[in-house]
Subunit: 213 residues, 2 copies
């Protein structure tokens, strides 16, 4: 219960950045609880304890709040993948361990995952906010890059099927994304037991990419 429904005191002169963080924190909380489209700018403002127009002093549009949260979350994912929290990936189990980090991240941060990987990359002119240059989100780029780097190691050892590294990476990514996004989008579906399902899917992917002996 830290959402101030009363007014937050005016920030001192140089402390605009603080307020910015407060907004992001409140938005993250609300987005996570109610979903991105069910939360209004007025609700965010009230949670912070400021007026709704004040948000626009810190962010150009509502979407930009979500995008910033998403960028941060995925920077974290890229970091985790790169840090090698998984062990060496010289065998099937190694690949599975790495892919697992991705899947767990998605399921533990469903709202961020939705914003980053499941939302349409292009908003066609909503009358008010125009197309906007839809440069691919840095989060997608960096996550993909790390993934490719790890898989390239495997490939260099001749352990993968005969496939160019880009396609190889895109296949692995698709396989994980499919499971994560379906489980997020359809929580009511009678999924197999969670742990069993994840382990199976990761094994299927790894097996599919693995060089047959």
């Amino acid at each position: 219960m830290n959402a101030p429904s009363s007014r937050s005191p005016r920030k001192a002169k140089g402390q605009g950045a603080e307020r910015r963080e407060e907004i992001l924190a409140a938005a993250l909380k609300l987005f996570t609880e109610f979903g991105i489209y069910a939360v209004s700018t007025r609700q965010i403002a009230q949670a912070v304890g400021i007026s709704q127009p004040t948000l626009y002093a810190y962010f150009p549009t509502k979407d930009d709040i979500g995008h910033e949260l998403q960028d941060r979350a995925f920077a974290l994912l890229a970091e985790k993948l790169a840090a090698g929290d998984h062990g060496p990936i010289v065998d099937l189990d190694g690949v599975v361990r790495m892919l697992r980090i991705y899947v767990d991240f998605g399921l533990e941060n469903p709202d961020m995952y939705r914003i980053g990987f499941m939302s349409e990359g292009q908003h066609v002119g909503k009358l008010r906010h125009e197309p906007k240059d839809v440069a691919l989100l840095p989060a997608v780029q960096s996550t993909y890059g790390v993934l490719r780097g790890e898989l390239a190691k495997l490939q260099a050892r001749g352990l993968t099927i005969d496939l160019d590294i880009e396609t190889l990476t895109q296949c692995a990514w698709s396989g994980m994304h499919g499971l994560v996004s379906l489980m997020i989008a359809k929580p009511g579906f009678p999924w197999s037991e969670r742990e069993h399902l994840i382990a199976s899917q990761l094994r299927v992917i790894a097996r599919g990419l693995w060089r047959g002996d």
Copy 2:
């Protein structure tokens, strides 16, 4: 150019169903061109040539229009999968051919696919339209059912890896969905050549599910 921007004549007494179809046709066209969230009820009404409130004589909410379109589209997919437009699935290529029908359908009907498989299955109370019982969409159920049926045949012949049929189906489904949904959500991503990518991913999935010799 068949969108009547002028008034459509009043329907005769028993012809309410006709108007309903006109609304669905106009909505499908607009949704496909501009995306589901960028089209307003006013725009749909104008395309049909009726007033905006009239829509609510035929559909309880805007979402219901999209849902009906989605139901129809996915009934078609289930039909295609069940009809065996793919040949027999007794070998790796056979599995690939079946999965291919699913992928092609998704990429050819991206907007329907988005509504059916990518949108959140739960709208948490938007104040106005309350939670609504989120029975799983029949489209998802029937598509999944057909897919499972086909894979069960493979399993019965002992051609799959050792995995219960539900998990097996969910893994295959996830693999295809991952590719389709990513390509839809991130059209700006530098994907591998389309045909090559699809073929590779289907082969990876099929290979992953295939019993190793």
